[in-house]
Subunit: 790 residues, 2 copies
């Protein structure tokens, strides 16, 4: 596929679409012509990398990064456009939030290229090992955006910038250096095309980082092993309390000379100060190291850098580099990584409604496959929570579990598209639990640390969903035990009260309603896993706990409402408000609907189906005054439809709840509306944080026409498919096809649905329907069909 080698993605997007469609057709023809006799049909690969636009979500609240990474790769090599401190003298700096992924599209300068980034998160960390090439007078401070010449940063223009899956390039205008980046799983590769210069530099700023603050660097350590190899590590405090990343950096030509910044005066380090450690001294360490490497370059000389990381040690980083990139061929790395991306993207082939959708869909697939990220060396060694080194036996260890987000749709999506990886992710979570001094599964974990972010214990949902769906390539008994243990740690976040009272009392622990509701759902998930594993006592215990949502329902107001430890509801209560009201990232209007595991009971509790439909309708049409918006985290104003908050996660299942009423059709137009409103193929196209792929997973499911309302159930609720047709290539070799008849922008309503030739009488399909392969046909209409599932 020559298309991959075209230099500018944007230039060929319009022709690319056509080419790809052509291929899609010809593939089918080809398959027929070939008349293969293999049992498992295989879809021919198309060039789908061309439709990925990593720039989507890089403006405003998307919090995605545009840089180069391999699928689920440890390395996310990406430009940082600013390095706003997280806090100054202990005071939080709200501007830092924009830089969760290091890059903001509206910025005009690039500080440098760092090797680790979260995708789409609403809090951040990382930004390790910022490299920046410069020429001319050496500057070791980044400078400011308003006066870039005051530091090593450079101005840049989007006209000279190109982001693809696995590749990024930009012209650093202040230095006339073209920077190109690509990456394998554990190695970032830089290719800098320099002008002629006697003063060419590559700066490694070990003080730079995302969500940085003075004192975040605990220690940095660096050795110039020889004239092309540098090793070291960075140890930070912060969101991860004790985080260490090791590196090995190799230059494609020998360093001329090197040195470091002047460090603050130090107490005793080397009795006789025998050395001038600022220049050409190969062993450096301290809290605030910035190091430079000098070269002489000829016009258009390409200086390349391989940069490997390891969670274990510098020896591990060197091994990773040797195994993954044992050469200096930048194009080869780029091409191999893009081929990997293409393989992943081809797991779903769609025929879209339009070009925007093609870009949206494959960018969503790309974002969905960015994490959790591989967290082990090529030899299987990784760091555990206790800081000991472990050997992964027969699994790939992953980290960066943004579970409060991703349990909802991303891990369920993995049970279809990435079952092997999902099982390994669960094994990684089980190892975490074994290492945890609390005996707890991850809450929000990264880099051998638990950062405790958000609420619930949603690992149990990920585990239950996999068990119930038969994706059991992990120790299921240990997983159930770990789930039960996690759900019983009394000192965790109000659990002691929850277990004693059946709810979290707001006077003892804030966001008490959100916690109660999510614990209840999680407990139901544990019960489902227990049921599947025929563990009656665990089932009985947790199915009972799963009803605790009832304890925070205030029938007088019809809302979930914070309750106090004396059993009374909190007096002041505003169901439009969030903070200090018993909720987090969603007000009571949204959160009251969070009973994904027992929608029928919830609907009954709230006055029956008709009243519930009215309630849902209101949610989407009512107005949220600005004063409440200020209290709603992580989203743009565009992330809200009426009072429905799509930019945050607690309502992601809500639009599908119409399926439990007599008006499934009311979900259908709204799903199409949400898909259009919240996902646009532009830099500011995401209505909220992508949240490590959860927003994208919602998009993928909803575009395909179904959604996992309650992970832990094998059931998917049907919506309104937004493409023309889709083929899902399953790991078991089978193909599940979704075909949409009479599809158009206007025909958003489902007239009837046929699964493998049989009409569906309910708006649900089962996981096994997908996994055994088959054909789901939607027949669309421009008018609501109240009889669609009759």
């Amino acid at each position: 596929m020559d298309l991959l080698l075209l230099s500018s993605k944007k230039r060929f997007l319009t022709i690319g679409i056509v080419a790809a469609y052509g291929l899609f057709t010809s593939c089918e023809t080809q398959n027929k012509e070939a008349g293969t006799t293999e049992a498992a049909p295989v879809i021919e690969q198309r060039d789908l990398v061309q439709f990925v636009d990593p720039m989507i979500g890089t403006a405003k609240m998307g919090h995605t990064y545009p840089g180069a990474t391999a699928p689920f790769g440890s390395i996310q090599l990406s430009p940082d456009t600013d390095t706003i401190p997280y806090a100054v003298q202990g005071q939080y700096n709200p501007d830092v939030y924009k830089y969760c992924a290091g890059y903001q599209y509206d910025d005009t300068t690039i500080v440098g290229f760092s090797h680790t980034h979260f995708s789409g998160t609403g809090h951040s960390d990382l930004g390790d090992f910022l490299l920046m090439p410069t020429v001319g007078e050496l500057q070791l401070n980044p400078g400011t955006e308003s006066d870039p010449s005051s530091g090593y940063r450079s101005t840049f223009s989007h006209d000279n910038e190109n982001a693809e899956a696995g590749y990024y390039s930009v012209l650093l205008e202040d230095y006339n250096i073209k920077a190109e980046l690509t990456a394998t799983t554990r190695v970032g590769m830089h290719q800098y095309t320099f002008p002629e210069s006697d003063q060419a530099h590559i700066i490694l700023d070990l003080t730079s980082g995302i969500y940085n603050y003075e004192g975040k660097n605990i220690w940095t350590f660096l050795r110039v092993e020889n004239d092309t190899l540098v090793t070291g590590y960075r140890q930070t405090n912060g969101w991860a309390r004790t985080r260490k990343v090791y590196f090995a950096m190799s230059f494609s030509k020998p360093i001329d000379s090197y040195g470091r910044n002047e460090l603050p005066s130090q107490v005793y380090r080397g009795f006789w100060r025998k050395f001038d450690q600022t220049e050409n001294f190969p062993e450096l360490a301290g809290e605030d190291l910035k190091v430079y490497f000098n070269f002489k370059t000829s016009e258009d000389e390409k200086l390349k850098v391989k940069f490997a990381i390891s969670p274990v040690c510098t020896e591990g980083a060197i091994k990773n580099m040797q195994e993954e990139v044992p050469h200096w061929d930048f194009e080869k790395v780029k091409s191999q990584t893009q081929q990997q991306w293409n393989t992943e993207l081809n797991k779903v082939q769609i025929e879209p409604l339009n070009q925007d959708e093609m870009i949206n869909f494959y960018t969503a697939m790309y974002h969905a496959f960015l994490g959790p990220t591989v967290y082990m060396d090529v030899d299987g060694k990784y760091r555990g929570l206790d800081m000991n080194i472990y050997q992964a036996e027969d699994f790939v260890n992953y980290t960066s579990f943004s579970l409060w987000d991703t349990y909802r749709a991303l891990h369920p999506l993995f049970n279809i598209l990435q079952p092997k990886r999902n099982a390994d992710m669960i094994t990684s979570m089980l190892e975490h639990q074994k290492q945890s001094v609390h005996g707890m599964l991850p809450i929000w974990s990264h880099y051998a640390n638990e950062n405790w972010c958000m609420i619930g214990y949603h690992s149990v949902s990920v585990i239950a969903d996999a068990i119930v769906k038969g994706n059991t390539g992990f120790d299921v008994d240990a997983a159930l035990l770990a789930s039960v243990q996690t759900a019983k740690v009394p000192y965790y976040d109000g659990l002691e009260y929850y277990m004693a009272l059946g709810y979290v009392p707001e006077d003892k622990n804030g966001a008490s309603v959100s916690k109660t509701l999510e614990y209840a759902y999680d407990d139901w998930a544990i019960a489902q896993a227990a049921d599947a594993l025929e563990n009656v006592s665990v089932y009985d215990e947790f199915i009972q706990r799963s009803e605790n949502y009832k304890n925070v329902f205030d029938s007088s107001s019809g809302f979930m409402r914070p309750k106090l430890s004396d059993g009374s509801f909190k007096k002041e209560f505003d169901p439009m408000d969030t903070h200090g009201q018993g909720f987090i990232e969603g007000n009571s209007w949204n959160y009251s609907l969070y009973v994904p595991h027992q929608p029928d009971t919830m609907i009954e509790m709230m006055g029956g189906k008709d009243a519930f439909v009215d309630r849902l309708d209101s949610l989407f049409t009512m107005e949220l005054p600005d004063k409440y918006f200020a209290n709603t985290e992580d989203i743009s104003r565009e992330g809200i439809i009426g009072n429905y908050v799509h930019g945050n996660e607690p309502s992601h299942h809500v639009v599908y709840l119409y399926n439990w009423t007599d008006a499934p059709w009311k979900s259908q137009d709204k799903i199409r509306m949400i898909l259009k409103a919240m996902y646009k193929p532009t830099e500011d196209g995401l209505g909220g944080n992508d949240d490590f792929g959860q927003m994208s997973a919602w998009y993928i499911f909803s575009t395909l026409g179904f959604y996992p309302v309650a992970p832990g159930s094998p059931q998917y609720a049907l919506g309104s498919p937004a493409m023309r047709n889709a083929k899902i290539q399953l790991e078991n070799g089978k193909i599940f096809e979704v075909v949409v008849e009479n599809q158009s922008e206007e025909n958003v309503y489902v007239d009837k649905v046929i699964l493998n030739g049989e009409p569906l009488r309910t708006p649900f399909i089962n996981h096994s329907d997908i996994m055994q392969g088959g054909r789901l046909e939607f027949f669309m209409s421009g008018k609501p069909s109240k009889q669609c599932y009759k």
Copy 2:
């Protein structure tokens, strides 16, 4: 041997002497009676542990510690009597020097018991993991000596204190707690006898340390794994730039509750601050952690603690504990460790002149066998200089190489008494060299760090001495190569100039004469190793460099004198002064004699034998005005005889130089004088820092009657033996016996010497004379015998 079990060593010292002599005699009888037919005779073990007094050197400048340790053990579990900061706001605090080993005999309080200590050093570090048992109101600050009740420290009295090899006990008066300590190689064991209390505490102060200062702790990390096991680590900056020690601590009964000090306000550590981390929260980390564990105790209840350390990880520490102390029997650990000590001490059995000598000698043996210390886990894993983890294959890895001191007599002593360990120490040094980014052998290294203390590159002397003496259980070719590489690192401490000019110019690099002289000696040592290995080119190169001492000899003054880079001698010059005068730890009077490898040439250069004898005589009799003493480091005023400085190392060979003149007898009385003046069986009995056993090794050699003037030569210069007779049990199974006839306090002169029946004609013996076993007979006299070697 019941003697070992007697509770108070001091109580039975007088009877012990008699008992031991009795044994000595009866052993010989027994051997004769047994009439063994074995080829290698074995000396029967005597109870020698009783003669070790770890209190010797704990007052004033000795810098020894009184606590419990096994031979060459990783654990040195010892009381710290104060925790003076090394520096306050970057300013050096001279009082800290007293606390190099954590203990000063004159102090009246004990702060606690920490697990790592250097013995006798003139700079320090360590003091890791201070434990302190208390009862009553919890206090987490140490308090002050003048007001011990202001903190957790306790008053104590030497009347209630007992220090033995491998055992220490004291009554903590403020709490009425008897503390007893013992240790295996990697595990410290505490036994605290408590009064009845509802408020019994064990405090683990992770902020405490030796040569501590604000900011020295880089990070500490702690997990309460269960109700008896705690793990964690301490990472420090300072003398070692990046030092980490891991631990596992086990209590003999479950913790009631636990908690930590209030930490300074922290930027972001755990999004929702879900936990009260001060109480019973099992996962703690930070820079300034102090942790307490609460218990309830009954009257006289013994609460025991096992505390294992590891250079690798907490898992390693746990393994060390499990393997070395898999039980709770304190007496068993004590007894086994004392048996180990007895085995080591029995390598030399002496019949002393008097009781003091018995104590001095075996305490010197004890001090000589404290370091270098084992630095690896029971499974052979250890941390390297690059912070990577290594597996020791077929050797024991050691650390804490105080080489500027110990190359002189301690490592040569090991070539006789500890050849296997010495070969492993050299292998450890070679591994260090391989890991070093400078490709250098250790200068002064500890805990996977090079602290660069003092001058020269004396690893090469240790290596050469072993090779020349045939103790070659290491890779000799690699060792020679490593020596050469080390001696050619241009940026090291003036070496670039030394290699170009043949001397270190004082205007480029201070202490230039000391450095030039020591480099020249080290170069000679390299040449000797090359000669033994038949490497002609290395020999030629380094034998030439070994003459560089001539370049700093000023024939006009007759002294070694600093030279400038223009080739002229420094104008201002005072051979009595040290600092800023081209010297370190010795003035020109002393240092001018530092040509141990070519005494004949040196003597010639200085005017011939008669003039040289006069010069030596003057050294011992002249007066050193007080103003110069202030400039002489690391020693008491008592550490000086005339202008001869025994408390520092550069003159340790000087008294033996008479052997190269016509007046060997002049060395004899002076050696006996030095032995008496500088080594007393009292707390303040050492005339200077013991320097990790170097001062003790001088004592052992000199007491036995011979001394290695130039390590790297197989030759020992004879002195005046100070005991009645001695048997050295060699690892090769042979016995070398030194018999002294007509010995007395007054008969300090040697009349004649007979080796294996043959009279000696020169005052020298060879290493092989010792190692092949045999009998050296000194015949003593009260009058100088000018004909003794004729």
